[in-house]
Symmetry: C2
Subunit: 383 residues, 2 copies
């Protein structure tokens, strides 16, 4: 019986999403028209609309001005509530915090970022709260209509039951639902919904910066994993007898190719660099000690990605993060490794492409995370 209750809950959710998809695609609609468009019975449809109105997701508006005149009182129309449904995406990144606000039509109505200046995660949450309030004030966006907040966090998430303090701070500040996920996985989601993998049902995304993370999309859905930690490419061991990683494992990819490891390897070749921007500049200037290290690291990433391609059979591999800004210098060794190691006998095409959405990807993915009707959604536009 529990299975049946589950099935009916899922069915109701599907019905609700069908109603919202029609309203979003077609604009205001009468109840009679919604019955025809969705195939739902009067009873079912009216119950769903009354629930959506209670939650202020839809509102009733005046009768239609257009269309043939009918006998009796013209029908009232149901439409999405323009004053509701603000969604906020926050990325509490290592180097910058980013915020983005989308309205009910999924247009980005405000966005901003700020340096973290070595703040810890709790401090970064406070920074994001202040940044969001100021940005919304500047743009005249009222946060009273806020519906939910998505937040991207650095690192491996714990079991879903254990919430981080940063999430609690955001809940206390805004009084709405807050959902958290790893920020690399959120970037993968954003690339899938709006970016380089928009049409791809099966996607492997890698994010290569100070840390190395990733996210997988299969059959159009972001994989979550049993503990919310799917996609952790950075902690695949490339050397089971190698040095201990902060995750407790040994020889993890992140310890081999994350920016700190690259800076160390480059320093060992006599070139001192001070950080990511410095590294990117030197690589773009084709300093040999730097390009050698970067290319070797890209090949190592390519080997791990080849394994992911063999296991997950994606149609596309998207590489994001700071290092992806180096283009062919890092993408070509990755492409080689994949074409040499990932089932070359099958002659499948697996595109390896750079990410589209740039550094705001995780904040946009955080918005996608709290959307309930992701599939029916048009791409966001800057207003």
């Amino acid at each position: 019986m529990e299975e049946r209750a589950d099935a009916l809950r899922r069915l109701r959710r599907t019905h609700e999403e069908a109603v919202l998809a029609v309203l979003r695609a077609e604009g205001p609609r009468s109840r009679a028209r919604l019955m025809r468009d969705t195939g739902l019975s009067r009873t079912t449809l009216f119950a769903i609309i009354s629930d959506l109105m209670e939650r202020r997701v839809v509102v009733e508006s005046g009768p239609a001005e257009y269309g043939p005149r009918q006998r009796g009182r013209p029908p009232t129309l149901v439409s999405l509530n323009p004053d509701a449904g603000l969604l906020v995406g926050i990325d509490l990144g290592r180097r910058r915090v980013r915020v983005a606000v989308a309205n009910v039509a999924r247009e980005i109505v405000a966005a901003a970022s700020d340096d973290t200046a070595d703040a810890d995660e709790d401090e970064r949450a406070d920074l994001a709260i202040a940044l969001l309030r100021k940005t919304c004030e500047d743009k005249g966006v009222g946060l009273a209509a806020l519906e939910a907040v998505g937040v991207g966090l650095v690192g491996v998430l714990d079991a879903p039951g254990r919430r981080r303090r940063a999430v609690e701070r955001l809940e206390a500040a805004f009084g709405v639902r807050v959902e958290a996920d790893n920020n690399a996985r959120l970037a993968a989601l954003a690339e899938r919904v709006w970016g380089a993998a928009r049409s791809a049902g099966d996607l492997v995304y890698a994010r290569w910066s100070v840390g190395v993370g990733g996210g997988f999309v299969a059959g159009g859905r972001l994989l979550r994993g049993a503990h919310g930690a799917s996609g952790e490419l950075g902690h695949v061991s490339v050397d089971p007898a190698g040095p201990r990683c902060h995750c407790g494992g040994r020889g993890c990819l992140e310890g081999r190719i994350g920016v700190p490891a690259l800076l160390d390897a480059i320093a060992a070749r006599g070139v001192r660099l001070t950080g990511t921007d410095d590294l990117l500049d030197a690589a773009r200037s084709r300093v040999p000690a730097v390009t050698d290290v970067v290319v070797e690291a890209a090949r190592t990433l390519g080997t791990v990605l080849a394994g992911a391609v063999v296991q997950l059979d994606p149609e596309r591999v998207v590489v994001g993060g700071d290092l992806a800004l180096l283009g062919g210098l890092v993408l070509d060794p990755i492409r080689s490794a994949i074409s040499e190691l990932a089932l070359p006998g099958t002659r499948r095409a697996v595109d390896v492409v750079p990410a589209d959405l740039g550094p705001a990807a995780a904040a946009m993915g955080a918005i996608a995370l709290v959307l309930t009707d992701r599939d029916a959604m048009p791409p966001p536009r800057l207003r």
Copy 2:
């Protein structure tokens, strides 16, 4: 507009599955009662039932004998067609072909297997066809009511557009829909639907025999991949500079730990074994040269599975295939590798368990492959 058409097709499929789930769980129902149970409108429900009747999935039966008498003609009832919906699962394995037949209530009504005697895939298809016909005749099962055939094939599948001749032979023999998938992935599906991972939403399955294969379940669904090749654990490279594999890659896991490789490594230690059964016997007798090789191979498999656990975050790892019959001898090294390399800092429990379903798993998975309402399905029973 295409997205909307897609959404409506999905909605219709959901409606159809809801109707079938109610009929399966509750037995025959009037249309009026089905409207209440599913929340569908009269128009939608009647269209779905008329389509299901045309496809002979449901039938109309006499009026209900029970319940309060109502005015007018008592309603006819809609029920699942007991003479329809036979499903056949076939596993064209390297060493044996296996067939299984399930009725509309998902009871296994016939099952058999036969030695392949080194037949190629086309010959194995013919063998399976003859075996199935004979078994059904012996059991009095009429194949006229056959609805679909699922078939498990060895090796990496090509792009979905290209069909194998074995599939064409089965279509010609039975004149029904035939769906094919890799047999290791089908075994994973069977373990998820009926076996060792029945309650697990996220599962990594490895099948270790002559070849090495696998399958992944995420969020309750078997991952397919963009080209139908998700789960190919056997072709993850464990040595990018290693020997060439038949897949075209280098240093693949299968070339390192598949039974032929194990026999070679054991022969190099002076012990000659002739095949899988011989290998299993020697390992069970704890012949040191044999157990050393097997344990080292299990550790290598464990390293690859640790990578899969990091990337996919399953709650359970299921190990099947002939080598899994050795129990702790192979499972313990796998457990060690996973607990050392797969995010030990997070202290998550990942069960590593042997497969439940034995050698018929792939044939059962082939039945699950052609089911359309897999989630609503009770476990199969031998009748």
